[in-house]
Each structure stands twice: as structure tokens, then as C-alpha cells.
Symmetry: C2
Subunit: 497 residues, 2 copies
């Protein structure tokens, strides 16, 4: 695969200067057009040591308009990085729509190096590559353009370069290690490239022997990719403009409960607790949780709890019973409201990745990424494609959290429509509760059936072994709160034992 | 000062429940009004160990609407925190306009603890307190409301509480240390409170013996402060609405150059370099910088370089000559464009604090916080008060950077109006440069005199011993680029030797 990049292509200085100007002019025009699009561009700069990846990065920064381009170098990890799932730092660095993010080093770097130095088995390596492919597909589905560049040098050329470089101080600490492992590195990276070379996200192997050829080819690849992507976007937009309007509101109605008994139907909403029993249980469970939260911190476990449920199901009250039992320094509650413009300019999971806790901390999401398959689905804010593929994206996200050792709990607080009505009415007449009821709540209520369908599908499709849903009967607040606390305690106990 | 908080105030349960509901309802209303204002609210929760600060935080989270409130606990520092000036973590946590940020622990914590355990001298402690006062004044000037709460316990009560708490696992590691140092802690914190108790930012000392009194008083203080601040804002808005419109465009014109020779007038714009000499110098300086950048990294020095200058003065070109000599993993260029809505919702320095580099890294700002006293001043985007106090705020910011060991360089690239005109015209006809010229550039050009005045004042008022301006003659690009590189090398050399 790399042979094609060993033919010794060169560009003379004069030809380079002429062509470079043309390409730069075209690139700048493309970058301007990009700015008004909703396309984030990820440029991955990778390849063998000594190929001049740093020079390529500098060159791109020179040729492009600095506004709307950001370079991210991934080498040393901070402890904030280390204390979170591995992809956190990449999520942090993803470019916003309309801008270009140059990744100097990327999600490929560590898997390849780990494999070269035989820190991981082949099976594990393949699994990493599959994860990468999935990650990239997710970004592409969201509208991203990913340009993957691999810079190649023939063995002899590399050796010569590394010898020359070791005389000055530019060399990185890894440099010597690599020159001895050329063949091994070639073999491993070829496998990585082959496995992740997909139609929407192809690799471009660039011969790096001649600097001018390398830089010019890079610019041409980037130009072609951006131009094509912009044209595709224009075609799609035109097709959408001429196509008959699709109903934004899916006409799907729930099937009759007799025909299919759903998960929610099986919830026993009569469960209740007397005031006295509640008081006793609450004290007992909170005392227990208090100790467990400290124990989880001592073991540096991450804890994430997601609260979803019908409007007025009592999410806030349940959350406060949990946080009331924890030291305020241990947890953080994220109330999910309308996204900021920085958040809107990224993949919808970006804003949740932002808040993933460090080791020993608890993050509670009051509503969460599940909005995608609930409100966004039902109200038509997400397209059919978008919410349908979200299940897989969410499962993948949660798997990463759990692999990193996160204790992930997901609660659905379930009430009956009658109970909801009663609570809405109470809220309207109670001064310290009226802020909780809005016209939107009444509107949502009218679509109970559509939401029910969405909730059932969500619970069914995202109840994984590592992150099962806990559906809580919440017609009785006392019962619901103790159930939540009990689950919290059980899961933490399991995690610290 | 603390005696007034040892009178043993209590609130019976019944009275508490009634009053709590009223206060909560009023607080929620205030919070709603706040949301539409441009006021960020900072609530500092501090005080003696055992006073139940955590419970207060939980209580506030219970009573307020979770949307628009965020709790930040400052206890363990991450290495990302440690590698930056001490206030970085506080800046990160500042609430956006219209929201409430609860600070559990704050900028007071470490100075007080350091002084209690005699890690710092009294003079240094006082200096820290002065810095805090300045920081708070800056936030208040920007429209913030800061509510500072200090929870106090009489000695006997504290001892009893700590004994009780040490039986369960809630206690923090510092707990035992503190119980023995009650008097010392009292004395130091009294000094801190007294020194930083200013009119716009008063302290509230709250007796914490009775939980109900403590929580209710907290809510009442917060309610009163928010209500008053909202009323002030309304008065100001009304006054502005009825006052005769002030000219947004300051009528200030530069005095005749004969009358006052300015800094810019003294720049010798005839300095130039032949192509051959340039080529030699560039190679020499870039090679030198290459080594110095690695040396600076090895010594974990932070480097910040600010580039300001007339439109078309050659900032971009100069920056690329610097970055071209550095490994792409070492630096990051921040091009300052229009702020995002998250940035707009904070103090204008917030967006620059965001990008302060970690140890061993270089951040280059292509335009910077000086926009406040340049374009924002001249174009009237900042009020008179705003840009006038910015000099002090900027000096304070830069002093913090430098105290933390940052090498801070500031370049003003200076050209004559004639040279600018020539470059504008060239840009208009050169395909790969036309993106650099906009109607705004022509408009700015018409106000050369006003900008000149602003630049002179900026250089005069912010050229400090720790961060002097380097005014670079830039009519000749070759001269300017080597000057910048030379300064870069000199400053780095000084820093690593």
C-alpha cells in the first residue's frame, strides 16, 4: 500500500511557486464558502517520523485564513485528560461548524504506537480501529468532512532524515525509538489505514520525500475534498428545496396497548410508601449513600446519573434527595437547557462530553443526551435519520464511559397521565411551584402517546448490560425517591466493593 | 467582629416552614427577573469548618431553579489548574450574565489557609487580599453582583460539631487540623473579611449554630441583594432612556504632532533590510528560536505573545515567521474574531483567560484583549468608563501572568498611512490576498488620528516593567519580521538562562 508513495515525486521550485499561489487562492475561496456552511472540517495529519508533519501543519496555517482554523496537537496528556475516557480530549478539540480543525496527532496515534511497541494484542488493536471507524462515521453523519492524511517516507530516506535531525534539537523524544522500528511501524499503520479507509472517510497517503510535493499535494487534497463536500451540500439543499415538504411531525401513533404490552405498561404505578416508612427509609439510605459517595471518591470512581421522566414526574425532588446526601464538593448537577451557540456548532453529544466528570466526582444530568430520541424525535427537531442513528451513538458513548470505569445510572421516572394532570394543576396554584409549569408542558402532554412510544423504544434500545435503564414508578413521590436512592446505593456498593 | 454572630439566634420549626416558603417564592421570582438582565451573580460560601457550608449549598440548590444556577467547589487542583496563574480556575467558573454561580470555597480559601498555617508572611497575605479586592471590583464594574457569606460558629459549638462529625465519614481531611486552630483561624479570617469588606461587595457574617436560622438568613441576604441590584439596574436603564443621547463616537481628535511628540512619532519607519541580509538573518534567528523554544519547554516556561498593529501592518506574516521556527506541538495561535455568545456573557477578559497556555506551551494572540482600548474605544463599542478602567484591569491581568512565570511579549507593528494605502491597494488586486481587505479596513483607515491617539495611550499606560510593549517599525516587512524574531529570541534567552 505504501509502495505507491515511494516513487520519488518531486516538484521544481518554479512550478511550485506558480501552482502554490493558485491553490492557495482557491483554498481561501473554499474556506470562505465553508464559513457559511454547517460543515466542520477535521484534517488529520499523521504518518512516519521525519516526514515533516509539523511543516505541513505550519504550511496549512500559512496558506489558509487564520480566522476559522485551529490546530490541536495531541502529545502529552494532562491529568484532566487522563481522568476521563480517552476520547474526551478529542471531543474537546473538534472544530465548530464552518471551521477547520487540524489534528496534529489524533485518535490514531496511541493505538498505533501501543501496537508497535506491543503493549496491546492484535485483537484489542482491531477493536480500537473499529471504534475509530464508528467515531468517524458518527461525525460524518453529523455533516463533518474528515480529511485523513498519511505522510510516508521510504526506509532509507527516513533514516537519513532522522540522523540529520538528531543533530539539532527539533527531534521529539520518540524519534530514536522509531527509526529502529520502521518495518514494524509500517506494518501496523498499514493495517490501521486499511481498516479505517472507508468511502466517506478515505485515507490519502502522501509521499513526503520532497517537501514541495508534499505540501502542494496536501493543499490539493484538502481543496478537492472541501470543494466536493460543499458541492454535495449544495445539491442536497437544492433537492430539499424542490422536494415536496415532508411532514415535520411524524404521524406515528402508538399501537393499541392490547396488541403490544410495553415496558412502561409493566410498571406497577400503585407502589407507595407511608410517610413514616418513607422517613425511616430516607434517613437510612441517605446515611448509607453519604458513606458510599466518599468511598467512591477514595477509589477514584466516576459516577454519572441521568434523570429523565415525564414532566412533573419528580426528577428535581429525586435529584435533591440524592445530592442532599452528598458533600457539595463531590457532585455537579447539569440542568440541560437550550444549547449555547458554541454547543449548537458541534455534534449534539459534544455538550455532554464537556461535562464528563473527573475521577472521584459525580455528575448528575437533569435531562440528557436522550433528548435526541425523546423531545427532538417527537417534536421533529431531529430528522428521522438523526434520531434513528442516535441509539447506536449513545450506546457507543456510554460504552466508552463504562470502559473507563464510570458508574452510569439512568433513571426514567414514570407516572400516569392522570397523576401528571393533578400535579400540573397543583403547580399552577402553588406560588413556589408555578415557575415549573409552562405552556410547553401542556403541549407535550397532548402528545403523550407519541412520547410513550419514544420512551419505550429508548428503554428497549439503550438498556445495555453496562448501562441499564431503571424505570421508577413515580406516582408516589416517596416510593420514587427511595427507589432512586436504593439504586444509587446498590450501584455504588457494587462499584466500591 | 464575630461576636455579633454568637448570640445564639434560633428559628422554631413552624416559623421556618412558613417563612421558607415565602422566601423561596420571592427568590424564584427574583431569579426569573435576573435571567433577562445582564447581571452575573457570584455567591461565595465560606466560613469556619463545621458550620454546614455544604448544607447551605444544597439548600440553595433546593430552593432555586436549577436552570441558571451552577455550583463550583474549589478543593483539589488539577494539573491544568496548577500549570496556570492561580485565578485561572476562578475565571473558568465565573457565571454567565443572568445566572448564579455558587462558589463553595473561593479565592479566599487558599490565602486564609496559607496564613493560618503560616506558609506566608503577613505582608504577602495583605497583598493577596488587595488583589482579591481588585478582582472583585473589576467584576462589579462589569455588572456583577457578588454576595459574600461567612458562616461563623462559637468555639465551643465548633468543637462539639467536629467531634460529632468525625464519627461519620463526612469530614474533610482538613477537619482535625482546624479544630485545634480556632483562634488563629478566627484572627486571620477576620483580617481577610475586614480588608475586603467594601461598599459594593460587603461581607455578611451569618451565625451558623442553628441550621434553620443559617439557611433562612442566607436566603434572605441573597434575596435582598438580588432585588436591590435589579432595582439599581432598572434605575440606570430608566436614566439612560431619558438622558440626552451621548455621542457614541468620541469627538476627540489627536493634538497636532508639533505640540506633543508621541511614542509612535519616534518610530523610525525608514529602517529596512536588503533581501540578502534578510534571508541570512531569518535563517539565523529561526534556527536560534527553534532551540530556544525547546529549551523553554524543558524549563516549563509559559510564553504568550500578543500581536497588535495597524491593518495590513504584517501581523500575520510576522507570526508565521515565528511559528515557522517552532514545532507545531509547542504553540497555538488564537485569532481574535467576534466573541461567541458564551464569551459575550462574561467579562471581556474571560475569553482570553480561556486560552492561557499550560506550562511549556506558547500562545500567540493575533489581536488580543487590547481590542478594548483600541477598536472598542474608537468605535464606541465600549463606554468611556469601560475602556478607561481597562488599562488597570489589563495591567493586573498581565501581572498575574508574569508572576506565574509567563514570558509575555507585546508587539505593535507600526506603519505609515501612506504605506497602508499602498498595501490595501495591492490586496485588492491580488487574488490570494483579497480576503484580507474588507470595507471595515477602509473605514478604520479614515479614523487614523483617533486610533493613533488610542495606540499612544495604550503603549504609554500598559508598558510595564514586566510586560513592555515592543513597537516595531514595519514599513519594511523584512525589517519588521527580523525585529520580532530578535525580540522573541532575546526574551526567551533571558527566560531560560
Amino acid at each position: 500500500m505504501f509502495e505507491a508513495a515511494e516513487v520519488g515525486r518531486k516538484i521544481p521550485k518554479q512550478a511550485f511557486e506558480t501552482r502554490a499561489r493558485e491553490v492557495q487562492t482557491a483554498l481561501l475561496a473554499a474556506q470562505r464558502a465553508l464559513r457559511d456552511s454547517s460543515i466542520p472540517v477535521v484534517v488529520i495529519v499523521s504518518g512516519v517520523e521525519g516526514a515533516g508533519k509539523g511543516s505541513v501543519v505550519n504550511r496549512l496555517n500559512e496558506w489558509l485564513d487564520a480566522r476559522g482554523i485551529e490546530t490541536n496537537a495531541f502529545w502529552d496528556e494532562t491529568d484532566e485528560d487522563r481522568q476521563r475516557p480517552r476520547y474526551w480530549r478529542f471531543w474537546r478539540a473538534l472544530p465548530a461548524r464552518g471551521t477547520i480543525g487540524i489534528m496534529f496527532g489524533s485518535w490514531y496515534t496511541r493505538p498505533i504506537i501501543d501496537r508497535v511497541f506491543q503493549r496491546v494484542e492484535e485483537a484489542e488493536f482491531d477493536r480500537e480501529l473499529a471504534r475509530i471507524a464508528e467515531f468517524e462515521r458518527m461525525l460524518v453523519n453529523d455533516g463533518a468532512l474528515i480529511v485523513k492524511l498519511w505522510y510516508h517516507l521510504p526506509k532509507k530516506v527516513q533514516r537519513k532524515r532522522l540522523e540529520a535531525e538528531s543533530k539539532d534539537r527539533r527531534h521529539s523524544p520518540l524519534l530514536k525509538k522509531f527509526s529502529k522500528r520502521y518495518d514494524r511501524f509500517s506494518e501496523v499503520s498499514e493495517r490501521a489505514i486499511r481498516t479505517t479507509d472507508s468511502g466517506p472517510c478515505p485515507w490519502h497517503v502522501v509521499e513526503a520525500t520532497d517537501d514541495r510535493y508534499r505540501d502542494l499535494t496536501t493543499a490539493e487534497i484538502l481543496l478537492e475534498a472541501v470543494t466536493r463536500r460543499l458541492a454535495d451540500a449544495a445539491v442536497t439543499a437544492a433537492a430539499e428545496a424542490t422536494a415536496p415538504p415532508t411532514p415535520t411531525e411524524p404521524a406515528r401513533e402508538p399501537v393499541a396497548p392490547e396488541a403490544s404490552l410495553t415496558i412502561l405498561d409493566r410498571v406497577d404505578l400503585t407502589r407507595a410508601l407511608s410517610s413514616k416508612a418513607y422517613s425511616r427509609e430516607l434517613d437510612r439510605l441517605q446515611a448509607k449513600l453519604r458513606g458510599l459517595a466518599w468511598a467512591a471518591r477514595a477509589r477514584r470512581r466516576h459516577v454519572i446519573a441521568v434523570f429523565e421522566g415525564w414532566d412533573a414526574a419528580g426528577k428535581g425532588g429525586a435529584i435533591r434527595r440524592v445530592t442532599g446526601a452528598m458533600d457539595a464538593r463531590l457532585f455537579r448537577v447539569i440542568s440541560v437547557a437550550a444549547p449555547t451557540d458554541e454547543e449548537r456548532a458541534h455534534h449534539y453529544l459534544w455538550r455532554f462530553w464537556r461535562h464528563v466528570p473527573r475521577a472521584g466526582h459525580v455528575t448528575i444530568y437533569d435531562r440528557s443526551w436522550y433528548g435526541r430520541v425523546l423531545v427532538e424525535r417527537v417534536e421533529g427537531f431531529a430528522t428521522d435519520h438523526e434520531w434513528r442513528r442516535a441509539y447506536e451513538e449513545i450506546n457507543e458513548f456510554e460504552e466508552q464511559l463504562c470502559e473507563h470505569g464510570t458508574v452510569l445510572m439512568k433513571f426514567w421516572l414514570h407516572i400516569s397521565p392522570e397523576e401528571q394532570l393533578e400535579r400540573f394543576r397543583e403547580r399552577e396554584v402553588t406560588p413556589w411551584k408555578e415557575h415549573k409549569i409552562t405552556p410547553e408542558d401542556w403541549r407535550n402532554r397532548e402528545r403523550w402517546g407519541a412520547y410513550e412510544l419514544a420512551v419505550n423504544e429508548m428503554v428497549a434500545r439503550t438498556s445495555t448490560a453496562f448501562a441499564p435503564w431503571k424505570v421508577v414508578a413515580a406516582n408516589d413521590k416517596r416510593w420514587a425517591r427511595t427507589e432512586v436512592l436504593r439504586t444509587f446505593c446498590d450501584r455504588l456498593e457494587e462499584a466500591v466493593s
